[in-house]
Symmetry: C3
Subunit: 276 residues, 3 copies
């Protein structure tokens, strides 16, 4: 590689402590030319799905050869395995607790290895901070060019969960969920245009989206099309339906957040519902 | 340039989401040797003036050749233009919504271009995340040495607003405003020594500064000169009058924040005011 | 040095303002190849001990030659001196207010210099932002290879405090304190295994740890061993006894935080206490 090796960090460490700093120090001590990029350290504490969403939304933009460290690790120190996931373009270093689940779904050829090469670890090894003692040094050596095969055997039984998918409740209703609320208060659902072609097409069927106590009947093209106080739907940059507002926090206007049910009702259903 | 190209980021994305990470990935995929520097991602959401203040306070310290990406963009996806502002030392990439207003005021020769070269954009282009799809790649190519002329035609009608300036209310009163409250609780006003030479000179006239329910009668040289619980004025590092306290948050002691009126009353006025 | 010079930043500037950005700009203008690493900018405002803990927990992981900038500086602009602390592997640039106290205790050979070489400072020099005007440029020149002797004379009377140490209250009771609460709600005490060998050994004596209204009777090996809602003790990655919970914030469960007393009572004492 001509350019400096790139190592990204996605963790639930927050920014109030020295944890991120220690991880960076370990990486640089092994690989002082590494370029360390913070993707996000504000994954919700202990929330493996939230970590899985964060890395899934960012990794693909990075150049080939990037090593991604992903640590949301409530099981640190237990028998859960440290792993390296290798795709055609990237490596990921993480605990084997499902935090890479959304990568497996997006990449065709993946190789997962159980990292057992303890001579790559920091010594003495703590029971409570494997990001510093295992994941950081492994990433640093990977980015230095050590072959992934050197770290351990390939495994097939890695932990993988499916992100919650929207489900049809009846012929006219699709039920999804708010995966996260972003900084602006946008409520990001798990519903994609493929899940709900009837509302995303060129001539969408009449519909209403029920979220909390609000009913949304329109998909806007841009945030700025919203009237003051209006809550609307939009196809967000993550590829999901978002419940949003213009220059305001939709989650606050709706009065609910992560985990909230989102029901898309097509017209017949709307009529039926009105008829009740 | 011998050294690695530098690209800074100033946004209202916050640090809780993957947005900053995606932007960095796009930059590095195009320009893997870029050195990406976070100036601030905690500009108040949708607040173009707050973004303008942030970049204006930081940009000039960076070396010649730096490319600054500045994104506070509530109008993302609308007809508002992406622009490149070039000064003698720096480039700025931003939406044309006034977020660079304070740069225009501080630099003599500026050239502003409307970025229309879509082949530099990420495809498919979203309607909601132009930092990732437009501003990041444009900055990456600029930092790689692509001439700014390549991105689009020069324009003169770019959006520019004036930051709120202090105004004389009467012969003895100058009225300013609190532009922002910083991390320490310092209330940063829009009043400079040039605006209020009578209180910043060597032998200042007797005065009082009224902010919220507090009256301040002294300008300290250093924060540590303040007594416990005392609220005082100081010439801050941004070049503005600040209402501050020693090891305490002045905004909390005063009980008000951003947007609060700040009145400087010279002695006669004080007397008159007392006479009421 | 073959690799790019590394400069780390540990401050109480927070991430909401432009302060960190300005510091980085100053460094890069002098030393554009410096690799700037954020250790932590969320040291509690004005809290020198909190800053001392942050840098002490992170610095040793960085490679030889690293320059650490540590700024918690409520006395900015007063007579307190800017200093360079040099150990065998690292340099530290900081105000002489004790923020490096925990480094002195961990390093054998230290040289401390009073920085007086004003030609290295930014001009005009503010009274309120020496991180930008003094510490950043000094670090940038140090990382560029300027010899530390060039910056000023060696001193011996630098400010140094001792971190609070646990104390025996009686023959059966050791009293420590919560130094900080981390992002996960772990309550990090100042008690090391050396301080309390009777509870950390292979066959520990029966004991209870009293913190707030909770009594803890077990030391777990890993966080995940805790039952839901259980508060337990663990040897944390900082080398201190922590009061923790599994996937939950111990500080919240205990209902107290930084500064809370932590009493370790050995069995006899427990019996006596029960006898009351």
């Amino acid at each position: 590689m001509a350019h400096r090796p790139i190592i990204t960090l996605t963790t639930d460490f927050g920014l109030n402590d020295h944890y991120v700093g220690a991880v960076k120090g370990v990486i640089l001590d092994i690989n002082p030319d590494a370029q360390i990029i913070d993707i996000c350290h504000s994954v919700q504490a202990f929330d493996v799905l939230d970590g899985a969403l964060s890395i899934a939304q960012a990794y693909s933009y990075f150049p080939a050869g990037t090593v991604h460290v992903v640590v949301v690790d409530p099981g640190v120190g237990t028998a859960r395995r440290p792993i390296i996931l290798s795709t055609e373009r990237h490596h990921f270093v993480a605990p084997d607790n499902g935090v890479l689940s959304l990568i497996y779904g997006r990449e065709e050829r993946v190789h997962v290895r159980h990292v057992t090469g303890e001579h790559y670890f920091l010594q003495p090894l703590s029971n409570t901070f494997h990001a510093r003692d295992i994941f950081a040094p492994v990433a640093a050596y990977l980015a230095k060019g050590v072959d992934s095969e050197k770290f351990g055997e390939e495994i097939e039984d890695f932990v993988r969960f499916n992100a919650p998918r929207p489900k049809p409740v009846d012929q006219k209703t699709l039920r999804g969920v708010v995966l996260k609320v972003d900084r602006y208060g946008n409520m990001i659902t798990n519903i994609t245009p493929e899940d709900a072609p009837m509302i995303f097409g060129e001539n969408p069927s009449p519909f209403k989206i029920v979220v909390g106590k609000r009913e949304v009947t329109e998909i806007k093209n841009v945030y700025a099309d919203g009237a003051p106080g209006e809550v609307f739907a939009i196809l967000g940059s993550m590829g999901y339906l978002e419940i949003s507002a213009n220059r305001a926090a939709a989650a606050q206007l709706v009065g609910s957040g992560k985990g909230t049910e989102v029901n898309i009702l097509l017209e017949g259903a709307v009529a039926a519902s009105n008829g009740n």
